[in-house]
């Protein structure tokens, strides 16, 4: 218990001290996580919406697979991406293994299924409500997808935040494709793993507290934005 309390103090000192290495790790975490969450939403939201609205053969199987991917183990994704990006692999020529770019790719692949599966359900529920009215107004399917995405934006915003949280907390895949290189691909989660392995538990815990604080701050900010925009649109 004393260990946990002392870690809070250590966490505050880390933030106040703003040591260069610490700031670099925090900045990198935020960069790769925001980037992969954004990419995952750009891909996953329309994907989920299209599956929700479109009728095509095998639709139900697609939905089953999408939901199943929610349980995709991250180390598996990490390993697959590693094998793809390795020099010996098909995409080796890109030369982005062990760079933040590789981390963004792995994290995006992990977050897309989550965003797609959740947005599909949200948009499908909205579609049931809107379908007849939109058909009556001559809204074509492509336009309907866009309209549903915008109208369900409050719920989808929460989906996006869930994706962001998932990105922030990823460690296994990031370790494999990033290599946890000091000063290059060390993010908060892999730093915590390293400190734990080194037996520096109070520092590891302090980093964990800082990570939680960042995620909390981001969510609070997002909530504030939502509250501010909600009354204007109802």
């Amino acid at each position: 218990m004393a260990e946990i309390l002392s870690s809070f103090g250590l966490a505050l000192r880390l933030i106040a001290g703003a040591d260069a290495e610490f700031m670099r790790i925090v900045a990198l975490s935020m960069g790769v996580s925001l980037a992969s969450a954004a990419l995952a939403c750009a891909i996953g939201l329309p994907l989920g919406a299209v599956v929700a609205v479109a009728a095509f053969p095998g639709r139900r199987s697609v939905i089953v697979v999408m939901n199943a991917l929610l349980g995709l183990p991250s180390v598996v994704v990490g390993l697959v991406v590693y094998l793809l990006l390795s020099r010996a692999g098909p995409l080796g020529a890109w030369g982005i293994l062990f760079t933040p770019g590789a981390i963004v790719i792995a994290q995006t692949l992990l977050v897309v299924p989550m965003v797609a599966a959740l947005s599909r359900q949200t948009v499908e529920d909205a579609w049931h409500e809107y379908r007849e009215q939109l058909t009556s107004l001559n809204v074509r399917p492509a336009r309907a997808v866009a309209t549903l995405l915008w109208d369900a934006r409050l719920s989808l915003f929460t989906v996006a935040l869930a994706g962001l949280g998932r990105a922030f907390s990823e460690v296994g895949a990031v370790m494999i494709v990033g290599g946890n290189i000091d000063g290059v691909t060390r993010v908060m989660t892999t730093a915590i793993a390293l400190k734990t392995a080194e037996g520096e538990l109070p520092l590891a815990l302090a980093l964990g507290i800082v990570l939680l604080a960042i995620v909390l701050a981001l969510n609070a900010g997002a909530y504030a934005i939502r509250e501010w925009s909600a009354p204007r649109h109802g």
Binding site: E132, L137, R153
Partner: protein
């Protein structure tokens, strides 16, 4: 409204129309013809198939048999419908009308002008910026009507337009419908309010148990309907 329609969508001719929903035959052997210039009200007891008929005519449910518009196929842009529970998007009242116009190819200044006119005519201009979903039932119905009217449809379907409205709102809607008719749009409406039917209808389509029992000019229908079912209906219904 996207103009450039090559031919008129009226007369609307329906032959041997059938609709099956949830394993049940809700409409069967429906046949009638709607010419221009008249207001048609569809009457019938609960479960007769009035809403299903409207949905079938508007293309929202699959049907057997044939429907022709002016001898040809459906022209999507020539119809609009006001649902009993209209769905509004999560945006302002004016924005909802603008959306409908935008989707139907009206852009820029003309879109803004037509949307504004639609709201003003419906007496809703003061609510232009209000979130549409926060409007009262009556306001929402009038907004739905304004939205449909902004599209200048040739045929306007209305499903129980005053069902959940108070007398004031109902009167406003009725007035709107009258104005739309004057402007040349073909009105096809369902209602269970006989008073509204009497005031609005030029002709009545009477449905019972999924079949079209009679198509009669309104004054003759209310004075002396030809079918026994209609007589039963008029006797039993509240005015």
């Amino acid at each position: 409204m996207a103009s450039g329609r090559s031919r008129d969508v009226l007369p609307l001719e329906v032959r041997d129309l059938g609709v099956r929903l949830g394993g049940r035959q809700v409409l069967q052997g429906i046949a009638f013809r709607l010419d221009a210039g008249r207001r048609t009200v569809i009457l019938g007891p609960n479960g007769a198939g009035k809403t299903s008929l409207l949905r079938a005519l508007h293309g929202l449910v699959a049907s057997t048999g044939s429907i022709t518009w002016g001898g040809g196929g459906r022209q999507r842009g020539a119809e609009a419908m006001v649902f009993q529970h209209p769905v509004m998007l999560r945006r302002g009242a004016l924005a909802n009308v603008e959306y409908a116009l935008a989707v139907n190819g009206v852009d820029g200044a003309e879109r803004r002008r037509r949307a504004r006119t639609a709201l003003e005519q419906a007496g809703l201009w003061l609510l232009a910026g209000q979130p549409a979903r926060s409007l009262s039932g009556g306001e929402r119905q009038r907004l739905a009507l304004a939205r449909a009217w902004a599209l200048r449809p040739r045929i306007l379907y209305l499903d129980e337009p005053t069902a959940s409205l108070d007398p004031g709102a109902a009167a406003a809607v009725e007035q709107e419908i009258g104005r739309i008719h004057e402007a040349g749009t073909r009105i096809v409406m369902t209602t269970h309010r006989l008073g509204l039917a009497r005031r609005v209808a030029d002709e009545i389509l009477f449905l019972d148990d999924g079949k079209l029992v009679e198509q009669t000019p309104a004054d003759r229908f209310f004075a002396a309907p030809s079918s026994a079912e209609a007589r039963h209906f008029l006797d039993g219904e509240l005015p």
